[in-house]
């Protein structure tokens, strides 16, 4: 099992969710996060005082999938979250050692 964490632009969430649903990915965890990378921040202007906002709002999507699906999922996320402009985000993949479905006690591949 792998966990695929994607940091994307907030307005792309619906597109990514719909694209993952077509792959029969049946669950995901979404958080509103803040951060910056190469896009850096932006500035806001209040009565002549210009403030730089370092951390921009982003969405983090976490999905855990069986190993065989990893490449396909990454491909779908890249296609659906991409605008081609700076700030589109990143995808990180990591190993997941164990998973449990709390209601039934099912384990690992059965539980993702």
């Amino acid at each position: 099992m792998k966990k695929i964490e994607s940091i994307i632009k907030p307005f792309k969430l619906e597109d990514v969710k719909d694209a993952l649903a077509e792959l029969d990915i049946t669950g995901m965890t979404v958080s509103e996060v803040k951060g910056y990378g190469r896009q850096q921040g932006h500035s806001e202007l209040y009565r002549g005082a210009e403030y730089v906002v370092d951390f921009l709002p982003k969405i983090k999507i976490e999905v855990v999938v069986v190993d065989e699906l990893v490449d396909k999922v990454i491909d779908v996320i890249v296609k659906s979250a991409r605008t081609g402009k700076i700030g589109d985000g990143k995808i990180f993949v990591s190993n997941v050692e164990k998973s449990v479905r709390i209601r039934t006690g099912e384990l690992d591949n059965e539980a993702v």
């Binding site: 806001e44 202007l45 209040y46 009565r47 002549g48 005082a49 210009e50 403030y51 730089v52 906002v53």
Partner: protein, 403 residues
């Protein structure tokens, strides 16, 4: 009867300006951790004024004149009967008391904008009470209560000198005495420009009562004051927005709201004296001078007039007082003739009124603030409280519970 009905209505309009209009205008500009404290300063400025005014403020401002300096008849409005009419002959004295009370309330609350996010709330309450008696009431007496500035011929239709210059200077003096906020110069994001614009719109709405109500009658001059008030606010918003766009390439809504208020301030002393074309000039210049009051003066001198009480009310108020001396048109109101209509002295008289007010307000405010500070064991909150935010420390509440 008609006059009484209109001034009753106008009084209610002006009342709305402070605990709703000004509270939201200022609250939206404060950081979210201080939003309630900022609102509370406006609300309690009005509340304190409402009590102090009927106890002693009114008689000091509008009681029988003593040597041109102060008025006095009696405390607690005793001796005023419900049938007594104010000097204009058509509204009850008790209505005049109430109308003027709303002015005292907004004036002290306006000054709070200079000192938010670091003042102890108890100091504010004591300061507001003493300031109304020791600073607001005498200045109101000099200009409106038969004191020496009115004998000199100073024109102030609805409070350019009494309200706006007075509040702007008081704010500046207290801001200097209190010192800058710890985060001065760092990014301090306003909690909600939306609230500020809603507040500015309520101020604009209430200002019709402020300016057209100051005629104390439902007549042509009131109608003229109403119209020029609206025109000046609109052109000042356009002026501020334009100059801000030229300078920073953004149409900020905060700038538009600030321009509206600057225009309203500047037209206040002139409202019952000038015609519509003069109001276009008064408003446009107000938007520009207040823009520089906020963007130039404050940055150059590095004082922390947090929400620009001086930058907008002081600066646009001074412009409005001078402009009244230039544009007062005797065809609008026979009581005022300005420079453009052959009375060259009026501008100098206006400047005298401005200087007297600035000097007295600055000195008296400093003394009052010192007294309030001593009575409450220091005026400034602790550094910890300042960083934690005054909503939690002073009020034990949060402006928003979003979860």
């Amino acid at each position: 009867m008609g006059n009484t009905a209109w001034v009753l209505t106008a009084t209610a309009l002006v009342m709305l300006m402070t605990p709703a209009g000004l509270a939201l205008f200022y609250g939206g500009m404060s950081r979210s951790k201080n939003l309630l404290n900022t609102i509370a300063m406006s609300v309690m400025g009005y509340v304190v004024a409402a009590v102090v005014w009927v106890v002693a403020g009114y008689t000091l401002a509008f009681g029988t004149d003593i040597g041109g300096i102060i008025g006095f008849d009696s405390l607690f409005l005793s001796g005023i009967k419900v049938t007594d009419l104010w000097a204009t002959g058509s509204i009850p004295v008790l209505l005049f008391v109430a109308f003027q009370m709303t002015f005292a309330g907004i004036t002290v609350s306006l000054a709070s904008g200079a000192i938010i996010e670091r003042l102890k709330f108890s100091t504010w309450l004591v300061f507001a009470a003493i300031w109304i008696l020791a600073v607001y009431a005498p200045v109101a007496h000099w200009v409106w209560g038969g004191g020496f500035l009115s004998k000199l011929g100073v024109l102030d239709f609805a409070g350019g000198t009494v309200v706006h210059i007075n509040a702007g200077i008081a704010g500046l003096v207290v801001a200097l005495m209190l010192g800058r906020r710890a985060d001065y110069g760092k990014a301090m994001f306003p909690s909600s420009v939306t609230l500020t614009v809603l507040g500015a719109s309520m101020l604009w709405f209430g200002w019709f009562g402020f300016n057209a109500g100051s005629e104390l009658a439902a007549d042509g001059i009131a109608a003229s004051a109403f119209l020029v008030t609206n025109t000046a606010a609109a052109i000042a918003a356009l002026a501020w927005m334009t100059i801000e766009y030229i300078t920073y390439k953004k149409f900020t809504l905060l700038g538009i709201a600030s321009g509206i208020v600057a225009g309203l301030v500047a037209i206040t002393p002139a409202a019952g004296f000038v015609d519509t074309s003069a109001s276009l000039i008064i408003g446009a210049v107000a938007g520009i001078v207040a823009f520089y009051g906020v963007n130039g003066l404050k940055k150059a001198l590095k004082y922390d007039d947090s929400l620009d009480a001086f930058g907008i009310h002081g600066v646009a108020g001074i412009w409005g007082a001078i402009a009244t001396g230039i544009f007062a048109n005797p065809e609008v109101n026979e009581l005022g003739t300005g420079l453009l209509y052959g009375n060259a002295d009026q501008v100098m008289i206006q400047i005298e009124g401005i200087i007297v007010t600035i000097v007295y307000t600055a000195i008296a405010t400093a003394i009052v603030f010192k007294i309030a500070s001593i009575l409450t064991g220091g005026a400034r909150v602790s550094a910890d409280a300042e960083s934690q935010g005054l909503d939690e420390v002073e009020h034990g509440e949060k402006a928003f519970n979003l979860r």
